[in-house]
């Protein structure tokens, strides 16, 4: 079903408009098959960050990373199997859920017998 439609738009494009990026164009499809957009909105995914914020973040992290290396702080070991416990809890939960999910099939014959 993929089909190419040329889109015409007169005006200022959003800053995020780039090659290969998705946009939402609102407007009308002309008789000649070209789409005349009255508004173009840029789309972004959940990883999007305003460039200024990303820059500030990078700088802050570099500085902090350097401080930490100076102070020699390392993440402490021990008592750090907690994520593994969480992981195994999920695996166990899956086993329990399978048993629980098998219940309707056990309940069916019971019900029909009654």
């Amino acid at each position: 079903m993929a089909k190419r439609v040329p889109v015409t738009f007169k005006g200022i494009l959003p800053d995020l408009f780039k090659e290969g990026k998705g946009v939402v164009a609102q407007g009308q499809l002309g008789a000649n098959g070209a789409f005349l957009a009255s508004e173009v909105l840029a789309k972004h995914d959940e990883n999007y960050m305003p460039p200024e914020a990303a820059d500030a973040l990078c700088q802050g992290q570099d500085r902090r990373g350097a401080e930490q290396r100076h102070s020699g702080r390392q993440s402490t070991l021990g008592a750090h199997m907690i994520p593994e416990i969480g992981h195994y809890a999920l695996i166990l939960a899956l086993c329990v859920a399978v048993v629980q999910g098998a219940c309707p099939s056990m309940a069916l014959p019971w019900e029909t017998r009654r």
């Binding site: 914020a53 930490q68 993440s75 994520p83 992981h87 939960a93």
Partner: protein, 182 residues
């Protein structure tokens, strides 16, 4: 059949444990967990670190699963007036729903995946998400979304039994129920 109720409660406890483990990893700034390193930071205040549990994909699914198991326990406690078989079926259907989510999490979206060697610091929660609303909004939203699984399970369980909402012959009841589900 009697296994459904304890299974639902046991599953809730296990998912609660998993949720607490991830919460602990965030609270303790354990950047050897990939998900924590990707969405948290040592300078982030505690309430945002905890909100970062649902700050990205993997943890959101864990929250989703957690809320599903809360609903499951709620059903197991507040459905005492229902016939035993009906309740087992409802919990069974919810169990199948959670099998799907747990399988998905454990295979391709595991929030407990390790990052070795550990990161010195986290990449931080997306600044756009550092808003008080982030602390409360996703859990409320998921509460509602996942709540639909209860209605879904009741409907599917009624179809499986074909008896609960039957004023006439079973066939007619099915005929009226199916369009409601589909």
């Amino acid at each position: 059949m009697a296994v459904a109720k304890p299974a639902a409660r046991g599953q809730f406890l296990l998912v609660l444990l998993a949720f607490c483990c991830l919460g602990y990893a965030f609270a303790e700034k354990d950047f050897s967990v990939l998900y924590v390193a990707a969405t948290s930071n040592s300078q982030l205040p505690l309430h945002y670190r905890l909100a970062a549990i649902w700050g990205a994909h993997e943890g959101s699914l864990l929250l989703w699963m957690f809320i599903l198991s809360i609903w499951m326990v709620a059903v197991s406690f507040f459905s005492t007036q229902l016939p035993e078989a009906m309740r087992a079926r409802i919990l069974g259907v919810m169990g199948l729903v959670s099998v799907g989510f747990l399988l998905f999490m454990l295979t391709v979206s595991n929030p407990f995946e390790r990052l070795i060697p550990a990161a010195l610091d986290g990449r931080d929660l997306n600044p756009l998400l550092q808003d008080p609303g982030m602390v409360i909004h996703p859990p409320m939203l998921y509460m509602g979304y996942v709540g639909f699984s209860v209605a879904f399970s009741f409907a599917i369980a009624a179809l499986l039994g074909g008896r609960l909402m039957r004023p006439g012959p079973a066939g007619r009841a099915r005929g009226r129920l199916w369009p409601g589900v589909l």
